[in-house]
């Protein structure tokens, strides 16, 4: 087979894909008709489109590229990855239904606007925007870089990875700018279906290459029999008091039960992010939320991860040539058309998340920050135009960072999910716990984000740059940065809510609280189930992703005795894998219980009238706006000078 054949098939598939994307962005642009529905698709995205969008963006390219590599490198020592399907949907079950109704009531279309109206907090607005930027530039940018390099290598380096990256970003920019949120919805549905089908297909291929499940299990048994890799079949205890990656050694490895808990918390970060809120607030109704979270996310995506992603990763674990890149290379040699289709499907999955991230970050920058601060008179058309320009600039930054600053890109990517999960406390305050006060929500997010930064490479590299050496490395005590953040976040919220006035809410917040209490009270049978649901949720969290994971090391067989022929794995697969499958199934039941029986996500038929704020006179802000522009320019110049000075001083 000549080298040009795979390249030819990739080109053919890419052209078809690009044509499909542009077709749907054109349809979206025609439906938008003018700028008014560009930001949120006129709040009329069908529920099934929203569900697919959420599923596709949640999985993105991370699981097929990063998740499989984690299993290839670390085996079954991080079972938090295996429960990602259930973890991805838990915040959805908890928040989405109420968030949609609150959005309808307040007539807002983004998480930042919601925080501004409910908490009157500009800090939360900026924090949300920062998270969106991390997703748009860092998280998606890193995936785009990885897939561009992969495409270039598999195409025989006929086209460089930079040009491939440019073409992918160009297409992305094109459809986001043309069709806005509606195009992201329409194209995203196709992208999500392609991505999920490709994962199923690649998993099947991994099984075929490794010679079937029996051969794969034999390979795993051989690994379990080797003392060097045997430790990778289990978690290394509940917690290790190590100074963290890059600073200290671990006993066995760093994959403790608490590390898995933190990793699982990070996965939840997508659904608390402004990207997920954007999807929810753009949907026509909330009637599909329970089904999408239970059956699509927990059952299907969860099954796909615990079976498909694990199969792909395990193949690479058994034989390093069968890692994801190797698998695709082999597929390309055997059938170039399938490899091309699978690669384009992975690109589609990454574009789905990147497109959504770009739109949300740009909307926040222009509509939520720039307009109210600097140019209140900006009309709708000009706002859309500025946002489109911003999309282009951010896409360009992501593209340039892929080549010029890969280390920073990687540091940003590592921040996106752990930072995003810190937004769960203000969301809890809006949707469930009215006792969370404004200062508590702000401090919680602030302390949570600071803890994340200080336990991730980004934070300690910045501090190291100015001469402050932290005594710990990444993820000290084998606790993931998301968990460190969540700990300080919750602690701050509890303490500050206790010492601040819990009744001092703004008018809008009080209206929302009354609206939720009036319409979402539990039915009698659900009230009976409440203690059962809480107990089940806590037990599941403890055993599936918490300290109880140590039981998974030996519950379904011993790993250390598998050297003997046949081994003693009860179900013929590693004990931790069987444990994860069991708790995935129980997780689906738990999600169903919460979503339907506890009425957390199922449809509630109520008529939502818009909140009418008291009429207020709008003051002329032009002087203040001019002053702010002057201040901002001065601030940017000062910060730039300080950075140059620091670089000059410290090298």
């Amino acid at each position: 087979m000549s080298i040009s054949e795979p390249f030819l098939w990739v080109s053919v598939c890419a052209i078809f894909y690009a044509a499909a994307v542009m077709f749907w962005s054109r349809v979206a642009a025609l439906r938008n008709s003018n700028g008014t529905t560009w930001f949120s698709a006129g709040h009329e995205l069908p529920s099934w489109v929203g569900a697919l969008l959420m599923a596709g963006a949640g999985v993105s390219g991370w699981f097929i590229l990063g998740g499989t590599q984690e299993i290839t490198k670390h085996g079954f020592s991080l079972p938090g990855i295996l429960q990602a399907g259930v973890m991805l949907c838990l915040p959805g079950v908890l928040f989405f239904k109420r968030l949609w109704y609150v959005g309808q009531r307040l007539r807002v279309s983004s998480q930042a606007e919601l925080f501004r109206v409910y908490y009157r907090s500009e800090f939360l607005v900026f924090a949300t925007t920062f998270v969106a930027l991390m997703f748009a530039v860092g998280f998606s940018g890193l995936q785009l870089r990885f897939v561009s390099e992969m495409l270039a290598t598999l195409g025989g380096d006929i086209v460089s990875s930079q040009i491939i990256g440019f073409l992918i970003v160009l297409l992305l920019f094109g459809y986001v700018v043309i069709g806005g949120m509606r195009a992201i919805g329409f194209v995203g549905a196709v992208q999500a279906v392609l991505l999920l089908a490709a994962i199923v297909f690649i998993a099947g291929y991994a099984l075929y290459v490794s010679g079937g499940i029996e051969a794969l299990v034999k390979g795993l048994q051989a690994k379990a029999g080797d003392p060097a890799s045997a430790v990778l079949f289990e978690v290394s205890g509940v917690l290790q008091f190590s100074a963290g990656l890059g600073r200290d050694n671990f006993y066995g490895h760093g994959g403790t039960a608490v590390m898995s808990l933190g990793l699982a918390l990070a996965f939840m970060g997508f659904q608390t992010s402004p990207l997920a809120a954007k999807i929810v607030l753009s949907m026509k109704s909330a009637d599909g939320i329970a089904a999408s979270q239970t059956w699509l996310q927990a059952a299907f995506i969860g099954g796909l991860i615990v079976a498909g992603i694990v199969l792909i990763g395990a193949a690479g674990f058994v034989n390093s040539e069968w890692a994801i890149t190797g698998l695709l290379s082999m597929m390309q040699l055997q059938s170039a058309w399938f490899a091309a289709w699978a690669l384009i499907a992975v690109v589609a999955g990454i574009q789905l998340l990147a497109g959504l991230g770009l739109l949300v970050a740009s909307e926040n920058l222009v509509r939520v920050i720039y307009k109210p601060y600097f140019q209140g008179t900006l009309d709708r058309k000009a706002t859309v135009l500025l946002t489109r320009i911003c999309v282009g600039l951010l896409a360009l930054i992501a593209l340039l960072m892929q080549s010029l600053a890969p280390v920073t890109l990687s540091a940003f990517a590592g921040l996106a999910l752990p930072l995003s999960i810190q937004l769960f406390t203000p969301l809890l305050g809006i949707t469930w716990f009215r006792w969370i006060t404004r200062p508590a929500a702000i401090c919680g997010v602030g302390f949570g984000m600071a803890a994340v930064m200080l336990t991730e490479p980004f934070g300690y590299q910045v501090l190291s740059y100015v001469g402050l050496e932290l005594p710990w490395g990444r993820w000290p005590w084998t606790v993931h940065s998301a968990a460190w953040g969540a700990f300080f976040n919750i602690l701050s919220v509890l303490v500050i809510s206790a010492i601040t006035n819990r009744t001092a809410h703004r008018e809008e917040a009080i209206d929302i609280q009354n609206f939720l209490v009036a319409n979402f009270g539990l039915q009698t049978n659900s009230r009976v189930l409440k203690p059962i649901a809480w107990s089940a949720a806590l037990a599941w969290l403890f055993f599936a992703i918490g300290p109880g994971l140590v039981f998974g090391n030996f519950a379904f067989g011993s790993n250390s005795e598998t050297e003997a022929e046949g081994g003693i794995w009860v179900f013929g697969i590693p004990s931790m894998w069987a444990w994860s499958i069991l708790f995935w199934m129980l997780g689906v039941v738990l999600v169903w219980l919460l979503a339907y029986r506890m009425e957390m996500a199922n449809m509630t038929l109520i008529d939502v009238s818009a909140y009418e704020p008291k009429p207020r006179l709008r003051k002329n802000q032009s002087d203040k706006e001019r002053e702010r522009i002057r201040f901002s320019l001065g601030f940017v110049a000062s910060v730039g000078s300080i950075i140059v000075l620091l670089a000059w001083s410290f090298g």
């Binding site: 749907w24 439906r31 329409f186 196709v190 059938s335 058309w337």
Partner: protein, 137 residues
């Protein structure tokens, strides 16, 4: 609603259509009838999915879809005939192609006759000019 239906149909064909085509190509290149048959079955599954979506939306195939389908069917026939003339075609390749054409043809007849009845199914192709059009001419 119309966009919903189109999008669903598009999703179905972007996955099952391409997989079906891929398996047929795989069957032809590996000279394996079973793999080719898997491709034919996948294409049939895509058609079934399309018909279910049509049923849920209470409508039939759109004129554009019919034209695209018939056009692709003709193109595949042409490619097969040209391939047969130009290069050597194995017995398996021949069987795979015949299976595909047979299944698609029988499927189309079955669909039309079940949806419109035998007589009206024929009328879908044999469209007489209306009396008004005749008078105008």
């Amino acid at each position: 609603m119309r966009d919903d239906r189109k999008l669903l149909v598009f999703c179905i064909w972007s996955v099952l259509g391409f997989l079906g085509m891929g398996f047929i190509l795989e069957g032809l290149s590996r000279d394996s009838y079973l793999v080719g048959l898997l491709g034919v079955c996948t294409i049939v599954a895509a058609f079934i999915g399309h018909i279910i979506v049509n049923y849920l939306n209470k409508q039939g195939f759109e004129p554009g879809e019919t034209a695209l389908g018939l056009g692709l069917f003709g193109l595949i026939c042409l490619l097969f005939v040209v391939g047969w003339i130009v290069s050597e075609t194995s017995q398996t390749d021949y069987y795979i192609a015949i299976t595909l054409f047979a299944v698609l043809s029988i499927g189309m007849i079955a669909y039309l006759s079940s949806r419109y009845g035998m007589r009206q199914a024929f009328s879908r192709f044999h469209i007489k000019p209306t009396s008004d059009e005749g008078n105008e001419k």
